[in-house]
């Protein structure tokens, strides 16, 4: 027994080393920079400056929230549908959902430029129909669209995996007790898929709120998200590492708070309305 758990610990060792070098150490480096000035002395100046970027924080949270809601509304029916079709169709749909994830997300985002641009696919098509070109690219809508598109697999997959594990006999039991299709969904499927919804929301909201590339390419630099601010400062050179680290730290704390709140939801066993 002891031997076995020691063996397990040994097996986990590379992972621990990896985590320390690439996750823990960078975290401490970030904290160090956040609380020091250019000379390496302790200071709270960087953190105090955060107020200057509250607009970026606000927009980031707003866009991420909108994108998360839209993603959920699209992904949930999709996941539900996937559990309804036969096994081979399920596999195929799964592939379709996953394939974009295998492609670099910069490229995926770029492809939307060609679709949305003023002379892009949509407007060319509209032009052929004699309709005035629409302003699609460089709008908040385009940024949110980019987020939804990039992150929707992270919503579909957890919901699908939770939903497909719901015991069929529970659905029959609810029918047996008088549930029509609507009640079956509301009283059994929806509450039982809640853990999937929660982890989907987390997995979409977190990358959305900290993204920096999508807004630059699809929002045309007009909308600075927190991620863009951080990237900007890091690119501006070592003098700005301290500010960039402070913003990163605050963003991370916010994300952690969000995750704790979400976890509350999934542990919360009180019956009744969901989310």
């Amino acid at each position: 027994m002891n031997k076995k758990s020691f063996g397990n610990q040994l097996l986990a060792a590379p992972h621990v080393v990896w985590s320390v070098i690439f996750i823990v150490v960078p975290l401490f480096i970030m904290l160090y920079f956040a609380f020091t000035n250019a000379d390496g002395g302790f200071t709270l100046e960087n953190v105090k400056q955060i107020g200057l970027y509250k607009k970026a924080f606000g927009i980031s949270i707003l866009y991420a929230a909108i994108a998360t809601v839209i993603t959920l509304l699209l992904a949930y029916p999709m996941a539900y549908f996937m559990t309804k079709v036969n096994i081979s169709s399920q596999r195929m749909l799964m592939m379709i959902v996953m394939i974009p994830m295998w492609m670099n997300f910069l490229i995926r985002t770029y492809s939307w430029i060609t679709i949305l641009a003023n002379t892009g696919l949509i407007n060319t098509f509209l032009g052929k129909l004699g309709i005035e070109p629409l302003k699609l690219i460089n709008t908040p809508g385009a940024v949110i669209l980019g987020m939804v598109y990039d992150f929707i697999p992270y919503m579909i997959l957890p919901i699908y995996s939770v939903m497909s594990k719901i015991d069929k006999s529970l659905l029959e039991a609810s029918e047996d007790l008088g549930s029509n299709a609507f009640n079956k969904f509301r009283r059994v499927i929806l509450p039982l898929s809640r853990p999937g919804i929660i982890s989907g929301i987390t997995m979409v909201f977190v990358p959305s709120v900290s993204t920096f590339y999508i807004s630059q390419k699809l929002g045309g630099n007009k909308t600075m998200l927190v991620g863009d601010v951080i990237e900007y400062f890091f690119n501006a050179g070592p003098d700005y590492y301290n500010v960039a680290s402070a913003i990163s730290m605050v963003l991370m704390v916010m994300i952690l708070v969000c995750m704790v709140i979400m976890n509350r939801f999934s542990d919360d066993d009180s019956e009744g309305v969901i989310i």
């Binding site: 039991a173 029918e175 047996d176 007790l177 009283r187 059994v188 019956e271």
Partner: protein, 373 residues
């Protein structure tokens, strides 16, 4: 005869999955308020039959009637039938109270009536005080009771129970058998029960339906089924039986094991080949000179209440239950009263069940192992 109302009728039902016939032209009338049990080996179609009644499955052919009206195509949620599922199927996201209230909430009962009903149900199944508990914190027996309460709270006219006791240990199972029976009589609900435990079927039911291979082999009271099995399958499946090849010489007179016996059966053709059943407990062991048949004891096992001994008579191994002790290699006589003999028509099952030779080998094998230790 008193006219009894049929609450559920199955008429010439056939069901096939992937071209494999699962139920084969099955017909059955279930009477109002009776406790009827489907008994049969695994895979014989018991669950499938329940699913037809519940509405989870439509027959390929034939009709399902409820109170005389055809209900083919009526969805499950509209049927006045509730089910206790083979593995309970309690809702893991709801506590005990909400599980039991589930059906009532759908019917939009007012909250105070729901509360009263749930409390009544909890009392009925002896779970008062566990309202707030979560399903996965309950023992198997408690979950079982919640499943019963959840189904009965809806006042179904028919309750379908699919092996509800299979997961319980022996002691708890016996208790629950009594309780279920009591609940059934108290509430006056028709119970359609499924089990593959024959003792359970015999002790609980008003009528037993013995099934095999998607067909009903026999329907009758537990006494009928045990004392007058219709064919070799039923005789073998219910209790222990010595099933012998015989010849009906004329009414009330049969020949088997090379001897002729008086019996109580009639209605066969002269010299018709038949299957003869003699229950192990109906055979008396007597001194050789008084025996109608004689044989050698080949194995003895003590089971507490009685001994189970195997006697070789002309190559056929009989099982006999006796309270007297006998020893291997004893020469004994067998005495069989006319009412101990039951005659059955030949069927597709004739000759399938043989004698107890493999049984005694098993015992020998076991005792060898014990000796080696």
């Amino acid at each position: 005869m008193q006219k009894e109302e049929n609450i559920v009728q199955l008429k010439n039902i056939s069901v096939a999955f992937d071209d494999q016939v699962i139920l084969d032209d099955l017909s059955l009338d279930i009477k109002d308020k009776e406790f009827i049990t489907f008994l049969g080996p695994s895979g014989c179609g018991k669950t499938t039959t329940l699913r037809l009644i519940a509405g989870f499955l439509e027959p390929d052919e034939g009709d399902v009637l409820f109170e005389g009206k055809k209900i083919n195509g009526v969805p499950a949620y509209k049927r006045q039938v509730n089910t206790i599922f083979q593995r309970y199927a309690l809702f893991p996201h709801l506590n005990v109270y909400e599980n039991i209230a589930f059906g009532l909430r759908i019917k939009k009962w007012p909250e105070n009536e729901i509360k009263a009903k749930v409390e009544e149900m909890l009392k009925l199944v002896n779970l008062t005080g566990l309202e707030k508990r979560h399903i996965d914190t309950l023992s198997g027996g408690q979950q079982q009771r919640v499943a019963i309460a959840r189904a009965i709270a809806n006042h179904p006219k028919v309750l379908l129970l699919d092996e509800p006791l299979a997961a319980l240990d022996l002691k708890l199972r016996k208790d629950m058998q009594k309780e279920l029976k009591k609940i059934q009589q108290q509430l006056g609900i028709t119970f359609v029960f499924v089990t593959h435990d024959q003792e359970e079927a015999l002790t609980m039911s008003d009528r037993v339906v013995v099934m095999d291979g998607g067909k009903i082999q026999q329907v009758g009271t537990p006494q009928d089924i045990y004392n007058e099995p219709e064919n070799a399958f039923v005789a073998d499946f219910i209790g222990e039986s010595n099933i012998l090849d015989g010849k009906m010489i004329r009414d009330f007179y049969v020949e088997f094991s090379g001897q002729k016996f008086d019996c109580l059966d009639k209605g066969f053709q002269e010299n018709e080949a038949v299957d003869v059943v003699v229950r192990p407990e109906d055979v008396d062991i007597v001194p050789v000179e008084k025996g109608m048949l004689t044989g050698i004891v080949t194995s003895v096992s003590f089971l507490g209440v009685h001994y189970e001994i195997i006697v070789d008579i002309g190559g056929f191994k009989w099982m006999i239950q006796t309270t007297d002790e006998h020893f291997v290699d004893d020469k004994v006589g067998l005495f069989i009263e006319p009412d101990a003999i039951h005659i059955m028509k030949k069927s597709e099952y004739s000759g399938l069940y043989g004698d107890y030779s493999s049984y005694s080998e098993e015992i020998d094998h076991l005792s060898d192992i014990i000796e080696e230790e």
